[in-house]
């Protein structure tokens, strides 16, 4: 595919266009990804997550600057929520990435969740692959501001960094255990504010409570992103963790699990597309069945079974041509 060739040659325009193609599920997107996939595996993927306003974008900017000092190239995917009511989105993470936005070797793409609930967008993992194939050494993903169980990042990144801040009104208890468990590194940002040390202690206690035996003890690092404090240490820890993952064989393990869950999602989605068009094409039929089911003339389980059979038939018919 020409667009993919252009991307391989280093065209930024083609890179941006390809991401759009895939994000909008336009014709040719899947074929392009088939060509992209063999080119992936070189980039290291860093996930940055945490509650709204914790400083994820500012930290992303500073981490990127630090990586650039070591001559590494960086791709950034910054995700913000889509409004469920209007479908629109205000993508403002770039505002806090001014330090790297004019660097040729940094590519920033803002993305809206478009209905995904796990803190990422559906196209995030494909966009990571595209940036990887393009040749970026690091891909940083900034999730939406998370609160409860938006933990898709663990299945998408090699390392997950959880950013929290003191005095966000809600203390660490408010951040659900599910989210606390995903941190390979904890960052207490805005350490210039009161309560940073207390927050560190709270996280330590919380981690101590966990009975899971771990080979890696998640470090807790204090930073002041706006003042560039603690960033060097953070990047060192990221590299240390990377070495640990490589040596222990866990990196290969994580990546295998990632592709496993991606494959399952791809299959689910393919099947879902059949269901979607089946229902769209037979609206009246389904409405009538619904009516009968509500009136207890039919049962829903039978309808579900029959529908799956119809989908299976359609799929095998497609497979034969």
């Amino acid at each position: 595919m020409e667009l993919v060739d252009e991307v391989r040659k280093g065209s930024v325009r083609a890179l941006a266009k390809l991401i759009t193609l895939v994000e909008n599920e336009m014709p040719g997107g899947v074929e392009a990804m088939e060509e992209i996939y063999p080119l992936t595996g070189n980039a290291y993927i860093i996930g940055i997550t945490g509650p709204p306003g914790a400083g994820k974008s500012t930290l992303t900017d500073r981490i990127t600057k630090e990586l650039r000092r070591k001559n590494c190239t960086v791709g950034i995917i910054a995700i913000d929520p889509t409004s469920p009511f209007t479908g629109g989105a205000l993508l403002g993470d770039r505002v806090r990435m001014q330090g790297v936005s004019s660097d040729e070797d940094v590519f920033i793409r803002s993305m809206a969740t478009r209905g995904s609930l796990g803190g990422l967008s559906r196209a995030t993992s494909d966009t990571v692959k595209i940036l990887d194939a393009y040749g970026k050494d690091y891909v940083i993903i900034e999730t939406v501001g998370v609160g409860q169980d938006e933990v898709d990042i663990v299945r998408t990144a090699d390392i997950s960094i959880l950013v929290v801040m003191p005095g966000g009104g809600d203390d660490i208890q408010a951040i659900k255990a599910g989210i606390m468990e995903i941190g390979d590194i904890f960052v207490v940002n805005k350490a210039d504010r009161d309560g940073a040390d207390r927050l560190v202690t709270e996280i330590k206690m919380m981690l101590g409570l966990s009975s899971v035996e771990r080979e890696w003890t998640s470090p807790i690092i204090k930073t002041v992103a706006t003042e560039d404090q603690g960033i060097g240490t953070l990047v060192e820890k990221i590299n240390e963790h990377r070495e640990f993952l490589v040596k222990s064989g866990m990196l290969a393990c994580r990546r295998k699990e990632r592709i496993r869950s991606e494959i399952i999602k791809m299959i689910e989605y393919e099947i879902y597309r059949y269901l979607d068009s089946l229902i769209a094409e037979n609206k009246d039929f389904f409405e009538q069945r619904l009516e009968d089911i509500v009136n207890k003339k039919e049962d829903p389980y039978l309808l579900a079974k029959k529908t799956v059979e119809t989908i299976a038939k359609r799929i095998s018919k497609n497979a034969n041509v």
């Binding site: 209007t86 205000l90 403002g92 936005s101 004019s102 597309r273």
Partner: protein, 134 residues
Amino acid sequence: MNQDKRIRVLVAKPGLDGHDRGAKVIARALRDSGMEVIYTGIRQTPEQIVDAALQEDVDTILLSILSGAHGFLFPRIMELLKEKGLGDILVLGGGIIPEDDVPELKELGISEIFGPGMSSQTLINYIRENLSQG
């Protein structure tokens, strides 16, 4: 579920101009109309704006300026867009821009200039109409 192609908009504030109320007002209005709006923040160089447009693959660029420096910044932005192969992108300007300057700016390739009192709906319609033609 197969969404229509979403309109992606870049709202940018070039130069040292700190008046950002208007830019934020239009950014929110466009978001509420269902568009994906990338806001760059204030103090953007023409290079930063054009790079953002390139990377974000936006359909249209909205330049908001109240400082009076449009006569210098807009030509530079248009020139860079052409250089980077983005010459046919829809560019709109707005803010405090004297009537007399408008013809010259349009000649550069800026499609329309909007000022105070413009209704959001006018802008939304303008973008939708002009993008569907292109």
